[in-house]
Amino acid sequence: MENLVYAIILLPLFGFLINGLFGKNLPKMLVGSIATLVVFASFCIAVSLFLNFEADSQPVIVRAFEWFRVNGIQVNFSFQIDQLSLMMIMIITGIGSLIHLYSIGYMSHDKGFYKFFAYLNLFIFSMLLLVMGSNYLILFIGWEGVGLCSYLLIGFWYTNKEYGAAARKAFIMNRIGDLGMIIGILMIAYQTNAVDFLSVAQNSSKFELDSPVIIFITASLFIGAMGKSAQIPLFTWLPDAMAGPTPVSALIHAATMVTAGIYLVVRSNFLFSLAPTTMDGILFIGLLTALVAAFIGLRQNDIKKVLAYSTVSQLGFMFVALGVGAYTTAMFHLMTHAFFKALLFLGAGSVIHAMSGEQDMRFMGGLKSKIKVTHITFLIGTLAISGFPFLSGMISKDEILTNVYGKNPVLWVILFLVATLTAIYMFRMYYLTFHGEFRGTEEQKHHVHESPSNMTIPLIVLAVLSVVGGFINLPHFIGHGNYAKLDQWLNSIYVYDLELPEVNFGTEMILLALTVLMFFTVWFVVKNIYVNKKKMALPDEKYTGWERLSNRKLFLDELNNATFVRFIEGLGVGGNMFDKGVLNRFVDFIGSGAEDSGRAAKRLQNGNVENYVLIMSLAIGIILIVNFILQ
């Protein structure tokens, strides 16, 4: 068992080393195959572990070595295998291997082919470290590692300065969140005298409910999650991160890295359950983020930007679920979102590939007959995210909505509005891209072709998962909860009882009916606008009113720039002036002081013997006198 655990985490590292060190000289097929196969092998091992694991098994700790021991706290480098981490491992390696396969086709013309796969493998390694670690410190190592890989991969085409700036932005915003996380971890270590999850869970009972200490700790951890999972105010890096290659967007910014924040909160459920105030804060921020991101997504015209804002919005959904205490629901939505968002991103990549690099939807259209596989899978993804009945997205989203209604019906209304907006912009995107007439150039029209099979196979697999993925956690009213497999699976993770609000069967049915009704209405209306009435998306300058606000991202980037960036730059300028004016002068002063004293001392040596003798005899006389005085 131990060797299997080591194998899971070391295989991607091995792939990184091989590809990174020797990949330049290996043939492309070999590089891609090695990278994909190591991740797929990790997935197979994880599945085998999963099959041997029961829903009520105890967590298995695999200790690699003792890391350090300080002041009574012993920190081991060890891995924890339990239900939660197994679920995450399977998601990461499963979707990861599909994306690796896809990248072989997508990046086949790129000069940095081997580098890309090296970075991807390093990312998988870091993410596995994050979810498999048994204490907060190893989690943090993985946390930082995925931040680094995100930077490397976003700025992969480094010769373009804007891409580099986007990568920097991502890294710096992550870092701001990391500060909160570090403070949280330190506080945990200080208060509970341990950093590994099992010990902290045991010691967590000494915290009073809603005491300032626990609120501080959980708020700090949440700030870390905010940075990583792109919540307000630290979310503007994610749309800019679309500068990276599309497989990167699919893997990192849809399926794995941005879910690290959710994982952190679920893993620390024993802390968050004790701080209802923080949970309310999480709820509020998640709701706000979901709303703002959905609003901005309405009028974006780059196909990847729409998906980016959609990701931010869906992450907001997950945090709302966390905020009401429905951890399992959040994990469920994390999983289904991974499926359909990765599908959508890969599909978008396929469209971009077919359009020879064009990303603006206003120049697409009418592609449905030209790239059939991509079209079908993309449609499935759109339907999933918008809430087509019985697809995975609908089931998980509905569960969130139900739980929120149980907390507060007003919140349900807002979240329902967000779901409506989601459907609107997703369908808008779909119709602009695939329906209507082709609006691109002639040359692009000739080039449109279906992607090779190593790109379409992942699309098909993900489409299937998006359809059936919801059935692992059917709502309780079906089969009396016997089919809520995920609930049963993750139940032993939670230390304190989850006090989820109860919603009676009738209300739940009404809510469900409303959601389905909304879905079909939106589909019908949007299809009418964009296909029948052939409404066109305007060029950027012609937007007015709320459309302008939406298109210009609510001017949030400009706000950030005007306040924080100017402030820091001002500090820098001030520091520069201080350095030049004060410190330089000080150093020069010392230097000239030495020089001047030397010049003064030079006058003693004038070569006159008489002077020398005079000073000598004076000195001797004075020494003698002083000697006698002192006696």
Binding site: Q605, N606, G607, N608, V609, E610, V613, L614
Partner: protein
């Protein structure tokens, strides 16, 4: 002989100390005041002699022979030093046609 032996019984040792100090300081004064190199060398000799006198006086008063041995050796060294010093001064005169020490300031910093 008997009378001379009583010299050390009647003259206190402090008189010799004072005499020696005065001679020494006269030598120092000469070095500071005079500009002729030969005279300065002579003042150094004067200083050495004052020390010799003091050593001999102490040796006589304390009946210790080591003082007079030291005087002997000081005289030897002084003689050698004068020889070489005067040779140097002669060379300096040959080069610069003067023995005024105020012009010997080539070692200025």
């Amino acid at each position: 002989m008997g009378e001379i032996n009583s010299f050390i019984q009647t003259v206190p040792l402090e008189y010799f100390i004072i005499l020696s100090s005065v001679l020494f300081c006269l030598g120092v004064l000469g070095v500071l005041i005079r500009k002729n190199a030969i005279i300065i060398l002579g003042c150094v000799e004067l200083m050495l002699n004052s020390v010799n006198l003091l050593l001999a006086a102490f040796s006589s008063y304390k009946d210790d022979g080591n003082g007079q041995i030291l005087v002997f050796f000081i005289m030897v060294v002084a003689a050698a030093e004068v020889a070489i010093g005067l040779a140097i001064i002669a060379m300096i005169y040959r080069n610069t046609k003067s023995v005024d020490i105020s012009i010997f300031n080539k070692l200025r910093g």
